[in-house]
Symmetry: C2
Subunit: 203 residues, 2 copies
């Protein structure tokens, strides 16, 4: 009799498949639109993910119009342009480097939280990048939770995108994410993942 | 008759609850140990999450021994020490800023990927931070998928932790995460989340 495999995860295997095992980064999508209602439902769920002092620095520009997509395209690396112009929806993810202004309201348990960041641009930029990236990952998971595929890309000219979309200077581009229902197989086989032994060390 | 609410998310509501709605950051845990088997199962799932060029910069130091926890404690902000010394497991998350050395194996589709990063420390550090934070978020989700709670903390002296644990200089501390089964209610009520309107703009 074979030894039963242990199942230590509480999350239902179908949910594990939807979010991680069967989900793949996509670069071609069907024409099916991604509705505002779907984006709202994803946002409503993933905004609950944790950030330091509940700072929530992530902002989303939903590029629905052809005109907005054409403002972005010249700043993308060449291989990312066509698929972005064709995707049902493209989200430009950015972080608010002046997130600390809202901390008195977002983290009332520690009234001095905003002061930690005031006048310290380097700390604010690192914190916005770290916590914004956490939120970006929650969003990618949320897109998969909606039964859709995401195509996240960091191959773009950040300075160019910031000048084009965020001339005020508080917001900084983080990632561009195409969203939709995938058409056909993923662009390539899943790449190898590092093993537990290569990643984890016990002390 | 009430209008039925739409349910646009494919993910089962119980899984939404487990990962986001009912999950909360914890700072007190029961004595129940977190086994290596559980950490392996979490890693096995969340290592599938996407990173740029499949770079996977995240590394985990699993601080199991009292001695390892005591090396960390002095570098934590005062409010984070006691709960970290008492947690069933503490993971010190770090990123490998020399992740590019493994790209020929991890992203064979683009043999020139490593060259983009060679000699560009600033780009490598930003990329390791961004992609390591994506992986950190996948890990937090995976800890919740195991039915456990995470207590992520960025309140520590990064330079001090790097000197203590990563004297070779390639790895940089990213987050400290306590892991276990929560004991009692979360430390405080859930903080307010930004609305869709405050976060998302359609162009």
């Amino acid at each position: 009799m074979p030894t039963p495999t242990t199942q230590p995860l509480a999350l239902h295997p179908a949910a594990q498949d939807l979010l991680f095992r069967q989900a793949r980064t996509a670069d071609r999508f069907t024409d099916e639109p991604v509705s505002d209602e779907t984006v709202r439902a994803v946002h409503e769920l993933v905004r609950l993910g944790p950030t330091a002092f509940n700072q929530q620095p992530l902002r989303l520009l939903l590029l629905r119009s052809a005109a907005s997509r054409e403002r972005l395209a010249p700043h993308l690396s060449r291989g990312n342009r066509e698929k972005t112009l064709r995707a049902p929806l493209t989200a430009l993810l950015a972080v608010d480097t002046r997130f600390h202004r809202r901390l008195p309201e977002l983290f009332p348990a520690f009234p001095g939280a905003a002061d930690l960041y005031t006048g310290n641009d380097a700390l604010r930029e690192r914190s916005a990048l770290l916590n914004g990236a956490l939120q970006a990952a929650y969003l990618l998971i949320g897109i998969r939770a909606a039964g859709l595929a995401a195509g996240p890309m960091s191959g773009f000219d950040e300075a160019g995108v910031n000048r084009e979309f965020f001339p005020e200077g508080d917001l900084r581009a983080l990632l561009v994410v195409n969203i939709g229902r995938p058409a056909g197989p993923p662009p390539r086989p899943r790449g190898p993942r590092l093993s537990y032994e290569e990643t984890c060390t016990t002390l």
